[in-house]
Amino acid sequence: MNPGLVILVLAVVVAAGFGLYRRRVDGVFTTAPVVEEVAQRSPVVEEAIGRPDAGTFHVGASRDPAPATTWSAVTASLPDAELGERATLVQFSSAFCAPCRTTRVVLADVAEQYDGVAHVEIDAEEHLELVRELDVRRTPTTLVLDRTGHEITRAAGAPRREQVLAALPLHQES
């Protein structure tokens, strides 16, 4: 076997494997079911969320260590952003990112159609501190925040509409 042919075959195998893996995980929200379950089952958590000092309360095992909430980290970079009453979809985008456009359309549509759901799009390049703080590795990455501004789930890659709807916290109205 000559090295050129070996490298060619290796490259194709690696690319095909990576591509199939990405196709499987793209747009999939992680950790959502667990947190939702906790919020549903525990009246303590519900009560705490309702309290005025809820900003410092961590729902379930929160993954963000430094800031009080994910949202407070977001507003530190974007003071004008507004938290949704029910949920906030925080989208990280960059210039060289075709799927970011698809994601923007989907999330904006969900925010428009569901009361209390807000969509905030953040340019990752302009807010690298925030990107590092929230450990965003790819664009698009979509974080779903609950009404207190805590991250309940996130998806890397463009999510489909149904995936976004399933990730929203507790459908209150239909």
Binding site: A11, F96, T139
Partner: protein, 149 residues
């Protein structure tokens, strides 16, 4: 959605990536016996990448061929895309093609083969999965810059 009307057919860059894949595959297969010819092949690809990065993906020979010959035979695209990401990817590809060419031309054949192989990974992902590897490396690259905190 306002800029959707000014975009390009997303299948154009994928077609270009498919051609890129073939070119690098030919270069790799030639590289063991004839590294000088492999250098010419990757050198031509570098020129194509330079056109794509400098003038835009629509202006490369493959882009023009796609628009003139391939696209009329396809159904109209269901959406249009921003040409900036694939153009950026052409610039990334240019770097790999130049290194591969230098490797093949100077006798560092394995270096040339490794970079041609990396370019093949990117071209394959783009052509088959419409996945832009260079675009994604961009944010990771930015993140690697020293943090102020």
């Amino acid at each position: 959605m306002s800029d959707a009307t000014t975009g390009i057919d997303p299948r154009g860059p994928r077609f270009t990536a498919a051609v890129t894949f073939v070119v690098f595959a030919v270069a790799l297969l030639l590289s063991d016996a004839e590294p000088a010819i492999a250098a010419v092949v990757t050198g031509v690809q570098a020129v194509l990448f330079a056109i794509g990065a400098g003038l835009g993906v629509q202006k490369t020979p493959t882009g023009l061929f796609f628009r003139a010959v391939v696209r009329p035979r396809l159904t109209p695209p269901d959406h249009l895309e921003d040409p900036a990401p694939p153009r950026f990817a052409q610039a990334v590809g240019l770097v790999f093609a130049v290194v591969a060419t230098v490797g093949f031309a100077t006798g560092a054949v394995l270096l040339g083969q490794v970079f041609a192989g990396l370019a093949i990974v990117a071209a394959f992902l783009n052509a088959v999965f419409a996945f832009c590897l260079g675009c994604e490396m961009y944010l990771l690259g930015l993140r690697l810059r020293p943090a102020r905190a």
